[in-house]
Subunit: 425 residues, 2 copies
């Protein structure tokens, strides 16, 4: 039996205990974690300092070091997030789809925890708290595997959580961290299907793809968003520009940022220069198909700041840029836009800007993605924006849950059958 | 590109077309399949005769040959089943979880097909029709792989379906049958995750286990039911006997039949002999723990027909008998029953017979299974009995769907976001 087996067995056991706890007990434990993040911050900050020093010595970039950093301010914000989760409704036990069967049986579904969640994540150590808290709230045990850059911080955070929850009558092993940074352990973790009911990869495309390809248990596939915004010929131009700007610029490094702008040929001559001017102010590099390049090159001189125009290559379609880069294509019809999205989209978030009822209806009906939007920014595809209160991930899989996954998406259900002696004829 | 790749590509394409069809179009196609099963029965019966002859020559048992048989009567019944599915509500497009967000966005979820379903099944050829029809109704394309014993029948049925639906404006490739009986193709099918969104194994435990272990795409885990019925000390005795009899005897070869009877020590002296007497009439072989063996041996002489008593071995606990065999154990408390179920149950169907409110509540809350029942026969865990209209399988997985899976469980959803220019702040 490997070390991971004993972690798995302990997690299963803790999960069964968690499943029986009341919301009040779980919320008390969460609030005590929030308190401890502030009252015991010196331990965390000291551990974090070790990671930062090791990171500097290893030559990590300032951006990565900043992602690693946990100080007083960030711990206080993290504690607030934990309090917010404690205040959300408990999904476990929720009853739905009730019916009275013709034979008198009262039938319903009741939400249950999934059991044990596995989480593999990269540098940001606050994920240790985020995921732990969402799992505890939804009655699931969790096995955490963080990045080696934040091993000291993660270890201190996990110990704080384990210590705190065990004082709040929760099983310590509801949260376990794999402390060895041996990369082989990720391979082993991907094989733990007897112990892990759902695996959540939180990190870059490489991690997500590896988990999708190799995990033996259900895993969330997501995080890769090749998102299109289609400006229809009937679009309100001001709205189109505002949405195109927000979708590309507001936070370009995330999965629901726009990658490709499709513009109807009738709208392009007027709307494209306006979009480009706004993008230009933010420093967006624009990879244009020949038709849109024509339009934008003709007006480039009009704008003092100018903007970066690059002829689009084949690989600009279907690419998630995660940066201030966008590809632009002119299309002759809604059908052409739909075909482009079908071919190049990753099923994450697709947007139409239109005033045409039939175009809006067709777009929503026909596009196959986790979120399909009319006249809104793709950046809105998010658990917080959708009112879920918290988000584990955005799933692009069609199985179990699609789009933003909150607490409810960390549950299963059981059928409760309340009879009075019914048998089968 | 192997032959299966081209099948996969064609299925994906057909699935995208199916997703856009109206309910009326799909139902017309289903009704024309029902008609063809009757009007073109001679082709099916002739193909079936070849399978039966080959089966006889290969020395298949009468029971298996009977499962293979399709005659006029069975085809008429099959046609009726297809008509019934046509009459069910279309899950695709159903809108739920609607809300108006604070920023004015109208948010909802809309059910969508999963895409392409794969089905691997064993001898009964009517599964070819069952699964095809459920997939078509739910807007999914399907790739079928039947058993080699029914290859001629399956081929004729699949051709009938393809021919019929293409005349009803559905893409022919919405239903494709893998006609090679080479066993290697099952291995290949298990790797088709780029084309198959959900794999459904319909067959014995060996097939189900193989699919669970080797499928690279989501697959339904189910079909294995180690089901317990616990007779509490407060149980109504007549009800307990009726439920124990029904759960074991009404159809012993299926997954929701009872395997182990747990009886509270206070109830056992009176209720166990009554259960055993009824079971004895049906020829049930009873594998008893020492305590229940004592009780039943003492009264065995009283019953003229007698009953088969065998001392239970270790392997009698946690075994799915799929026959007129039951194991029986006396327990000292509800807690002991819960522990036994937690240790040996397969998470399929668990039953308590009790008049005690607290015992019923604890049982439903604490037992982790697809269906948890109070005072009802485990045989009721079934899509038909639960009012789903049709059933693809009973899932014992906690992911996506648990328990009976009907049309709705063959769908995913997308978030529809209807805005008026909202962006993210």
């Amino acid at each position: 039996m490997s070390g991971l087996d004993s972690i798995g067995i302990a997690a299963k056991k803790a999960g069964r205990q968690l499943a029986k706890l009341t919301s009040a007990t779980k919320d008390r434990a969460l609030l005590s974690i929030a308190d401890a993040l502030v009252s015991r911050q010196s331990v965390i900050i000291e551990a974090n300092r070790k990671d930062l020093e090791a990171g500097k010595a290893a030559g990590l970039s300032d951006a990565i070091l900043d992602r690693l950093l946990l100080d007083s301010t960030r711990l206080a914000a993290l504690a607030k997030d934990v309090q917010k989760v404690a205040g959300l409704p408990d999904p476990v036990g929720e009853e739905f789809d009730q019916k009275l069967l013709p034979n008198g049986v009262r039938l319903s579904k009741r939400r249950t925890p999934l059991g044990v969640i596995g989480a593999i994540y990269e540098s940001r150590p606050n994920v240790t708290i985020d995921i732990s808290v969402l799992c505890l709230k939804s009655g699931n045990a969790v096995i955490l595997r963080g990045g080696k850059e934040s091993i000291n911080t993660n270890t201190a955070l996990a110990e704080l959580v384990r210590d705190t929850i065990s004082q709040a009558d929760l099983p310590k092993d509801a949260v376990q961290l794999i402390t060895s940074t041996d990369r082989k352990l990720v391979d082993e973790m991907l094989k733990m299907k007897d112990y892990i009911d759902l695996l959540i990869p939180r990190g870059g495309a490489e991690l997500v793809k590896r988990v999708a390809a190799e995990a033996t248990m259900p895993a969330i596939t997501g995080g890769i968003g090749v998102c299109h915004t289609y400006i229809d010929k009937s679009a309100n131009q001001g709205m189109a520009v505002a949405i195109a700007y927000n979708a590309k610029v507001q936070r370009p490094t995330v999965c629901n940022a726009m990658d490709t702008l499709l513009v109807h040929a009738d709208a392009a001559p007027v709307v494209l220069p306006q979009v480009a001017r706004e993008w230009g102010k933010a420093g967006v590099e624009i990879h244009c198909d020949p038709a849109s390049l024509n339009i934008l090159q003709a007006v480039k001189g009009e704008f003092s700041n100018g903007f970066k125009l690059v002829p689009a290559q084949k690989e600009d379609w279907g690419t998630e840029f995660l940066s201030l880069t966008a590809s632009v294509k002119m299309v002759g019809s809604l059908d052409e836009a739909l075909l482009h999205i079908e071919e190049y989209g990753s099923g994450h978030t697709e947007v139409i800007v239109t005033e045409d009822y039939s175009a809006a209806t067709r777009f929503v009906n026909e596009v196959d993605a986790s979120a399909v939007m009319v006249n809104a920014s793709s950046r809105l595809n998010d658990g917080g924006e959708f009112g879920l209160g918290a988000e584990v991930a955005i799933s692009t899989s069609k199985f179990h849950a699609r789009g933003p996954m909150g607490l409810r998406e960390l549950t299963s259900y059981k059928w409760a059958v309340m009879g009075t002696g019914q048998i089968r004829n």
